[in-house]
Amino acid sequence: MSMLALVLLLVVGGIAAAVSERLNDNLPRIVSLGILLAALLLALSWLGADPGAAGVSNSEGPWWLYLKLPWIERFGISLELGLDGLSLVLVLLTLLLGIVAVVSSWTEIDFRPGLFQANLLWTLAGVCGVFLALDLFLFFVFWEVMLVPMYLLIAIWGHEKRGYAAMKFFLFTQFSSLLMLLAIVVLAWNAAVLTGSPTFSYRELLEVPLGPTMAWLTMLGFFAAFAVKLPAFPFHTWLPDAHTQAPTAGSVLLAGILLKTGAYGLLRFCLPLFPQTSAEFAPIAMTLGLLGVFYGAVLAFAQRDVKRLVAYSSVSHMGFVLLGLYAWNTLAVQGAILQMVAHGVSTAALFMLAGALQQRLHTRDMERMGGLWQQAPRMGACALIFALASLGLPGRQLYRRIPDTGGPVRRASAIRRRRGPRPGDRGGVLALAGAAHVSGRARTLPYHGRLRHA
């Protein structure tokens, strides 16, 4: 029940923030911060949950929390939510970055702050729903819920080319998610044909067999949606525009969380639902990941715009995630999850710094910056730390064990025997040198050198 409460809290909080705007301009920010803190506390309380207490488990192990309420019974649709280690980590990351986003927009957003905070909270509600939903229809609903407010965030509060960027983001995501909807309906229909009653439940669909051709097509439908969100190599072009044009809080959310929903979808749905097909598809996906790593790195190197640079480095990093997910052994998948979390934190921080630079200098063009360390040594130090983190110096891996990121990982590794050395890994790591180049450039240009911009 508390999972539903979390999502509802965010939705209702959004309404409250929007309404409170009438009283006072500062109130919505406070409301939204309070709501997020409450949500974070709620999510933290799940840390102590006893795995298996929910009493529902399938081949992947127990769900920590589980909830199923009837919704549209005629089509086998229900309000089915579940929490395991993976969801928990991502929900915590979401709420944490949500707080960061609220704080970072505190002084930046003057126009309709209430509406802004409301959209922020609704996006977060959608994201949390995505991380918790176990019913594919519900999942799709949340998937759309997170899209629309994000569109508004970019389209209303963005920078100079916001309309174009927002529309591009919307079209890419919407088109691919319609493909996913089609795939979801096909899955439910297939279940109806085989078992007599349609179902959208992830847990039940895992058991329903699927013909090879149909599996391929539906798998591609899912993959399209997740690959656009991730973003994987040829579908990434919305990302630099959206990230660059979004307000700082929007960039933080986009980079920190929305991209993770793509990876989460792959891990939670695409791989377990279509194990055989995904295994056949893995070489293609890994190639895409690898191309993304290199392509993103080269393009990041070529940029003059700070935010665009960080955006392309995101493309590069998420290429690693794709590579890790489809390499498909425990180590690689854990690495991918870790990379997701680390990328969420470090990239969000870099976007905040870029936003701070823009707010102070009114430009994002690095050629016009320089010598900022003299005036802003603390900001420089922060930029340094996060640039190094984003660069993949091993320091950031100093984490105590992530709460068992469990389920899908074990399942995935059980499906496929451990492979030998993975060719993808090797090429991928070579790209690290490229990534190093990127961040090096990012850092030195604005902060080193003579003071160019007063």
Partner: protein, 621 residues
Amino acid sequence: MHLTQRQDSGMTALWLIPALPLFSALVLVAGGGAMPRRLAALFGAGSVGLSALLVVLVARTFLAEGQVLQQTLWTWLQVGDFSADIAFYVDGLTLVMMAVITGVGFLIHLYSVEFMWEDASFCRYFAYMNFFVAAMLLLVMADNLLLLYLGWEGVGACSYLLIGFWYRDPDNGRAARKAFIVTRIGDAAMLLGLFLLFTELGTLEIQPLMALANSEWRTGDTVAVLATALLLGGALGKSAQLPLHTWLPDAMAGPTPVSALIHAATMVTAGVYLIARTHDLFLLAPQTLQAVAWLGLATLLLAAFTALVQRDIKRILAYSTISQIGYMFLALGAGAFASGIFHLMTHAFFKALLFLGAGAVIHCLHHEHDIFRMGGLRRRLPVAFVSFLIGAAALAALPLTSGFYSKDAILLTAWTVPQIGPWLWAGGLLGAGLTALYSFRLVFVVFFGETVTEPDRRPGWYMSGPLLVLCVLSVLGGWFALPLADVMPDRGHELAPHWVEYAGIAVPLLGVGLAYLMFLGGQLSPGRLAASTAGRLWAAFWQNGAGFDALYDTLWVRPFRQLAHWWRNEPIDHAVNALVRLSRWSHGVLTALQNGELRWYATTMAFGLLLLLAVILRNTP
């Protein structure tokens, strides 16, 4: 599987050794600019000093009990069947490295207190330096390769930060980036090597890994050669050996004590340490080991030639460092692991001495770097002169200095390598002659002759003290007996005939004599040599470091920039935008039909109806 039972033995305070500088660095970062300089200096130098004291205590325990010291702090990561601990492993090799890092490191920190006193970013300097010491200690004390890699990247990052320390000059930033990227290329290779080792042998703990490799692989296995070649890639990058050596001369953009600590005494020797630490693997891959020897030889000759024609005092020392590390690689490749580490230690002493001496000269001469604008400093800066003289003597391997013992051991061992031995020896000997020539060229030009620039101050005690201590170490360092026998083998050099030994003594002396004739006595004029066309070309060739920078620029940097330039506007996005253009175009076509003219509508309607009628009539039988 475990070679030794994993239990904490002996000193349980091992963790304090890297933790102290780390703690101090954090304090300095937190304190920021608000900290008074005296306090910052106390933290910065004091923490390293305390670490050095602890190392002495550890060394006493170790030498008394002769037992490897281990300590496991906690499990770092645990995924499936892979796990890595934060754990330390201290044997003779580690101890030598720790002693060098903390000992020489402490002296350099002390020296820095005076050298950097007037710098605005005093605190930041010591924070970076302490971070570096902590990371370097982590590197040498790590008990698994992943932790070693953590330290490895940590020192790389600190090196980047310290090269670009004076950030207001964009050139320094550029040098820092170059150093970082070039070493990073090597690091990527090393990381691949680690992956390969893990997938093949299933562990990254160093001691079990060595044991497993010895039992699983046969000598000369392809896997062994591949794995060692990848590790070698990392070592080449970090230690500035061919073909990844180009970053080190530019790295001299950093403050001089940084060059002494990072780019002479410790970090650049990490590659040597890595190979020595994994020598079991390298012994299983004789091909790689031979490559190590040849690369070392090529590097030492190339760098020595380059050092001969440079004008910048720090660049000369940088090339000399590259050259001396070439000797260490030669030693490793020849199987003289212990001699290589021995040279590492003596080199740390005398090269730190030379750099600090050079720092004193630069400090007192308004940051002058050009040796031909110095001169006659013998009487004006006696401490710097003495330290330079002793350092140069040790560098040139004149008898009775520390450098003599280590270099002699390397050359003699090189001779005994089957088949290629004499070649390695001859090359090394030529290098030794060149070393003597360029090091005494430096001494004669800077400290003798006419005074060109007048020093405006003299080094104080914080600078002189460390110099004197290092002088003593540079002379006596050759008599230390290193506890390396249990760690790794050393090919004996008793087989070498006596004349080989005599040649090793004579050639450096010859080099010094030649330097005297050319730069002090005036009997041979280098100016006349350089005036001829051949001489000019020769000098120009070496002045630019044999053209490696230009080569890499055309081969890699410029194509990459060009590629980035072409791609700047996203070719993929053009494909997406083509879709947009298609729909725009069809929109245009369709609006052309809607021209708003009533008659046009009527006409098209009529013809449409006609068409429909025709179709219907055709289809009705």
